[in-house]
């Protein structure tokens, strides 16, 4: 299992800069938004939590279809399905590799990028903590979407239609926590709910992901 984690991480990092791409996308988004809505600091500060969270969602979405695609095409997935490690474990490891290459760097980069958007300093803890708690959920839910569309030639657009509605609760609590942080309010309630969603998603989604993979491999 650890070997699989290492392999997937190595692959993700080698294949077109797994770390870099999501981050670069995140950065570009934070540069584009002021062009779109105007440079007024108060306005930017107000929408910064939402922009950063939506950006995290989209950045996570970008690399989703690669989670299983290559392994499905070259047959590795079938080997993994018959390996002693249960497919649920494979699903979890794949999601973990996805998180390490997207969720983790986004969480770390959120604070400096928040400054670009004039995010109040007091919102940073809630934002970073929220991203740290919420992005694992994005990865495991995304892995489910990737498993659904793995057999398709052009699953990219479909995957966003399938996965984005499932991201709704995560986005909502995460952005709410950051907004409350920005307003100087107590943010522990949305953060706890976010943690709950993440924990439940990490615990349960690998099972449905594995089920979807088995259906595709049959």
């Amino acid at each position: 299992m650890i070997a699989l984690v290492k392999r997937d991480l190595a692959l993700a990092i080698r294949a077109g800069g797994g770390f870099g791409l999501g981050l670069a996308f995140f950065l570009i988004l934070c540069v584009l938004v002021p062009f779109g809505v105007g440079p007024e600091p108060a306005l930017l500060a107000r929408i910064a939590p939402g922009i950063l969270w939506v950006g995290a969602l989209l950045a996570a979405l970008l690399s989703l279809d690669r989670i299983f695609q290559f392994d499905y095409e070259d047959g590795t997935l079938e080997v993994l399905a018959t390996a002693p490690l249960p497919l649920e474990g494979v699903a979890l490891v794949k999601a973990l590799a996805h998180w390490v290459t997207t969720g983790l760097p986004l969480t770390l980069a959120a604070a400096p990028l928040g400054m670009l958007l004039n995010l109040p300093a007091q919102a940073v803890p809630a934002l970073v903590l929220g991203l740290a708690l919420g992005t694992p959920a994005l990865s495991v839910i995304g892995a489910f979407g990737a498993a659904l569309t793995v057999g398709l030639k052009r699953g990219g657009l479909l995957i966003s239609l399938l996965v984005l509605p499932l991201y709704m609760p995560t986005l909502l609590y995460g952005a709410d926590a950051a907004r409350r942080g920005a307003a100087g309010l107590e943010a522990s309630t949305p953060l706890l709910l976010l943690a709950g969603i993440s924990a439940a998603a990490v615990a349960l989604m690998p099972f449905v992901t594995a089920a979807a993979l088995r259906m595709n491999l049959r």
Partner: protein, 244 residues
């Protein structure tokens, strides 16, 4: 004899042949009576004026939009557990009807909201969850259409329906939290079904609701029969090609 005998496509085709016209006529009758009664023969509400007449479309369609998803959930579960093809096809048949019902509910809600709340759209929990439901329907239908192998498509859409249901419920409560979190105390006066409605409005509303329910059943039966025929058509064509 049990309900499962209808899971056999032949048995299903045989048993439902006469049900489709029956339900269609009943649905047409109930909807006609409900809507004509509601439109022509009910008084205006003293506060809402004539917009109260929208209720005869809005509430039944919203009800069926949710029920259609629920029916798809049950049918998906039956497919995943007992592998009855009719069940999977019925779920597929119901989705576009659910889309139409959701659209009607959203549209009538918007034109009702405009004069009543002064806005076409508000990010009210109920409205927002309906929009999310609409997205779930779209994703479900798109997945059905994207996958070519029918049984795999049935499997994957069923599991999407299951997961989607959980997340739809989660979103429903999350949205509640979010809205209250933002605008404490402001509540948008969404009509809450029959409870506060006077009999004058309630009787045609119930008739219309029954009509929409019958319409849904009739359409699901008709569309399921079409899907069964469609599958048989493909099986025959494939066999013919193989024989050549």
């Amino acid at each position: 004899m049990s309900i499962w005998k209808y899971a056999n496509p032949k048995q299903f085709m045989h048993s439902t042949a006469w049900l489709v016209p029956l339900f269609s006529y009943a649905a047409a009758g109930f909807i006609a009576v409900g809507l004509i009664w509601g439109f022509f023969f009910t008084p205006d509400d003293f506060r809402q004026g004539s917009t109260v007449k929208i209720i005869y479309l809005h509430v039944p369609s919203a009800l069926m939009a949710i029920n259609a998803w629920f029916m798809m959930l049950v049918a998906s579960l039956i497919w995943l557990i007992r592998r009855h093809h009719v069940s999977a096809l019925a779920a597929r048949a119901a989705a576009p009807i659910g889309v139409v019902m959701t659209l009607i509910a959203l549209f009538t809600g918007a034109v009702w909201g405009e004069p009543m709340w002064g806005t076409w759209w508000a990010w009210d929990p109920r409205l927002t969850s309906f929009l999310i439901l609409f997205l779930f329907y779209l994703g479900y239908i798109a997945l059905w259409q994207a996958i070519e192998t029918q049984d795999v498509a049935a499997d994957l859409t069923s599991i999407l329906c299951l997961v989607g249901s959980v997340f739809a419920v989660l979103s429903r409560y999350a949205v509640n939290f979010w809205n209250q979190g933002l605008h404490q105390g402001t509540s948008v006066p969404v009509a809450t079904g029959g409870r506060t409605v006077d009999d004058v409005f309630f009787v045609p509303l119930v008739i219309s609701m029954i009509g929409f329910g019958l319409l849904f059943v009739a359409l699901v039966l008709l569309r399921t029969r079409t899907e069964i025929r469609h599958r048989r058509l493909h099986a025959l064509l494939a066999r013919e090609r193989a024989a050549q």
